[in-house]
């Protein structure tokens, strides 16, 4: 049946519903003013609350109509007395102020953590956007250019949020810890002007890089990207000087007087933190960018979109995992420097108040390795003819699971008194041996080697080496891998039978053999698969949806891990603002329980994802079609 004008009832209904939606949309314009009014009312309410706490004189009729009473005289005298007393009181600088409800420490902690997470993202994304753009320029493949631009789109809002949280953190420090902040400022004042100037340059390079996309010669644009990265890294180095000085102060006298600003900047943990943060930022940025791609993949309507975002997620995750693999080594260097600076500090970290934190860390890193490998194994399904390689996955899984179990085994076990008696101490007679550093170093090195093997397997999907020495090449790679794994395990076991002086040094050849194995296997692989025959095409987008949730899981785990390790780096000082020099005498000087610390970390991580979700949404506005004005009457 058709309608009077020859239109179907369905079309009429559609038009009616469009008219209804348009009417509703008309009301949307009041949303902004209403929100502004609510905010204004809230501000007035807070201001009123604060003002109401001050003394206010009661209303009085004009003096001409009312006689002065003794009560009024008394009140006037009281006010005059209070004012003269206030004038006579000398100015005393506040040492601490209290933040309501959660306390000053938690307030600073949350703001600093959010600032750092956004800063890490803002520093990392330009780095791999630049690399991807450079690959696109070199190969002439426009897909890379589009991908780099898509990453860069996430930057501008994140940059604003980083700066906002940075300003928020500064104000919070000045308000809540004025005396200590003043001390830090007195030590580092020569670094502030360069920092601000670099921040200006950062803004210039970032916006020129973003808005100048496709507007300049590619090499000029790449130059802007390089400038952005150099300036961003320099900013991080300066900020790292302030915070590392608090843990390992240098360049000052025993009473805190400045002897050398350069020594204060280049303190013991400065360079290890610079390197550690640089690598960790790349890993973190890659994982968040991969999570963005996963979100877009799950939203995608077409196969083309799915293929693009699958590829973007793969690249983001690839960057994250490649950066993640050397991260334990950088962490090891940092820990070594902490020990070199102060054995007490090092032992507090690994054997004292924070020792159990590293069991939580082991769970997180174990999950990261498991998830990263799982994603790679799922990704093999994109390529036809992958079955011959899939049989190796179960062995890799066993190696990862065993390493994970060793790493997460604590030295001492939480047990009842009778259980401790039965064990002959808090350490389990058998499992206790897995809780020491010899076992843990071995486990982490095997985990790294296994993940590297997963990458190699993934690289082999859909390819067959055609070089004459292919068989020898495969055998050489396998031999190097096996030799490195056996050497790492041998040194791990050997560590139980030697003195501490020898045992501590064994981790260096363990790390060295893994790095050497990865470098040499990669080198062989490049030549081995040069001109390889393709046995199947990569079908981007043909991956189970669960893989995308794995990417989001990896991003959340990375973020949580950063929060946790940020806590140990800062909390390690315990009741010192500047370790051994400026003591924390505030009510928050104690070290909270790990349970409490993990709650704070979780809240900041949830806030970060709420905000980064907002960034994703803002970035997606680019792709929205313009508003259709034809419906406006």
């Amino acid at each position: 049946m058709t309608g009077r004008l020859g239109q179907s009832p369905g079309k009429n209904q559609k038009r009616a519903s469009e008219r209804e939606r348009a009417t509703h949309r008309k009301w949307l314009f009041v949303l902004g003013p209403v929100a502004a009014l609510v905010m204004f009312a809230g501000t007035v309410q807070i201001a009123s609350l604060l003002v109401s706490r001050e003394y206010k004189a009661p209303y009085r009729a004009p003096a001409a109509t009312v006689d002065e009473t003794p009560r009024a005289e008394g009140l006037t005298a009281e006010r005059a007395d209070a004012e003269s007393r206030a004038r006579a009181t000398p100015y005393v600088e506040a040492e601490y102020r209290t933040f309501p409800v959660v306390g000053s420490r938690v307030a600073i902690w949350a703001v600093a953590q959010l600032h750092l997470l956004f800063a890490a993202f803002v520093l990392a994304v330009p780095l791999f956007a630049f690399i991807i753009e450079a690959i696109g320029y070199k190969t002439g493949d426009l897909r890379y250019d589009r991908l780099a631009y898509e990453f860069t789109k996430l930057l501008s809002v994140s940059f604003s949020l980083t700066a906002t949280f940075g300003a928020f953190l500064t104000f919070m420090l000045i308000i809540l810890y004025p005396k200590f902040t003043n001390y830090l400022m007195s030590v580092f004042s020569p670094t502030f002007l360069p920092y601000v100037l670099l921040f200006f340059f950062e803004a210039f390079f970032l916006y020129a890089y973003y808005y100048g996309w496709g507007k300049f010669h590619p090499l000029v644009h790449l130059g802007l990207g390089l400038g952005l990265n150099v300036v961003g890294t320099a900013i991080m180095f300066i900020a790292n000087a302030w915070l590392t000085f608090m843990t390992s102060p240098r360049g000052i006298s025993d009473t805190g007087a400045v002897l050398s600003v350069m020594d204060a900047v280049t303190n013991f943990t400065w360079m290890p933190i610079n390197v550690h943060r640089f690598i960790a930022n790349v890993a973190f940025g890659g994982s968040v960018a991969a999570a963005y791609a996963a979100f877009k993949f799950l939203q995608a309507k077409t196969d083309e979109e799915r293929a693009h975002y699958d590829w973007m997620g793969y690249i983001g995750n690839f960057v994250a995992i490649i950066a993640f693999l050397p991260l334990p080594f950088a962490g090891y260097w940092l820990a070594k420097e902490i020990y070199a600076y102060s054995q007490t500090l090092g032992l507090q970290m690994m054997g004292g108040a924070f020792s159990w934190l590293f069991i939580i860390q082991a769970v997180l890193i174990g999950n990261l390795f498991l998830a990263a490998n799982y994603y790679l194994w799922l990704g093999m399904g994109r390529v036809e003819g992958v079955q011959p390689l899939q049989k190796f996955i179960k062995y890799l899984l066993i190696a990862i699971a065993l390493s994970f179990m060793v790493w997460a085994t604590p030295r001492s076990i939480i047990a009842t008194v009778s259980e401790i008696r039965a064990m002959g101490g808090s350490a389990h007679p058998v499992l206790g041996f897995l809780g020491v550093m010899s076992a843990k170093n071995t486990a982490v090195n095997v985990l790294i080697l296994t993940t590297f093997m997963s990458f190699l397997l993934y690289r082999r999907t859909g390819k067959v080496a055609t070089v004459a020495w292919a068989k020898t090449g495969h055998a050489a790679q396998l031999t190097i891998f096996a030799a490195a794994a056996l050497f790492v395990i041998f040194l791990g076991v050997y560590g139980y039978f030697v003195e501490a002086t020898v045992r501590i040094r064994l981790s260096v050849p363990q790390v060295g053999s893994v790095l050497l194995a990865m470098a040499s296997i990669t080198a062989i692989d490049i030549f081995l698969f040069h001109g390889a025959r393709k046995t199947g095409e990569v079908r981007w987008g043909r991956i189970p949806a669960i893989s995308q949730y794995v990417l989001i899981f990896i991003a959340v785990t990375f973020t949580w891990l950063m929060g946790l390790m940020g806590y140990v780096r800062s909390g390690l000082r315990q009741h010192w603002h500047v370790y051994g020099v400026v003591r924390d005498t505030s009510a928050d000087a104690f070290t909270p329980t790990l349970g409490f610390a993990t709650q704070v970390v979780s809240v900041t991580v949830l806030l970060f994802f709420l905000l980064i979700g907002f960034v994703f949404w803002l970035s997606s506005l680019h792709e929205r079609p313009d508003f259709d004005r034809s419906g406006i009457s």
Partner: protein, 173 residues
């Protein structure tokens, strides 16, 4: 019947929430110790040797952080010397030093003698961040003397470091 479809944003939100929730749960499973800053210890001038032993043990476990590194009665692969029977070994550890002088040297000037098989690592105990006073260090010595021997020190016991100012850190503890 139409299958209920959970919006994507809710699914992702649930995943983020569940992941952070899981890690928070792991955080609750480990031992929960709140570490308070060390309390100021009052060493009265009339303290007896047995009173000094009590305070010394308290310092070793708390402000002095001694038991973070050292063990008492543990064997095997150790990072720092075990203190079981240290009162006996201290008598002859360094030629020319008696037990009290050796204990004092190991705290005021820890790198002067390193026990064979171990690395240097002991901080200077009368300097920050540990910063024990001369009297507190005597209390620690009194406790160490009980580990295989009989305490003899009093607050009047002297040694070559007593009363000397803490050495400069040179920027590190």
């Amino acid at each position: 019947m139409k299958r209920l479809r959970i919006p994507l944003i809710a699914r992702i939100g649930a995943l983020v929430f569940a992941t952070t929730g899981f890690y928070t749960y792991v955080g609750q499973m480990v031992p929960q110790n709140e570490v308070q800053p060390p309390e100021e210890i009052v060493v009265r001038a009339d303290l007896t040797t047995s009173g000094m032993v009590e305070i010394g043990r308290e310092i070793m476990d708390g402000k002095g952080l001694c038991l973070t590194c050292h063990t008492i009665g543990r064997t095997g692969a150790l990072r720092f010397p075990d203190l079981e029977g240290v009162a006996v070994t201290a008598e002859s550890r360094v030629p020319g030093l008696n037990a009290v002088e050796y204990f004092a040297q190991s705290m005021y000037e820890p790198d002067a003698f390193i026990v064979p098989g171990f690395n240097p690592g002991m901080p200077v105990i009368n300097r920050n961040p540990i910063g024990l006073t001369d009297e507190e260090i005597l209390c620690v010595i009194a406790y160490l003397q009980t580990l295989g021997g009989t305490p003899t020190v009093t607050l009047q016991t002297t040694h070559r470091y007593k009363g000397a100012p803490a050495p400069s850190s040179g920027g590190r503890p």
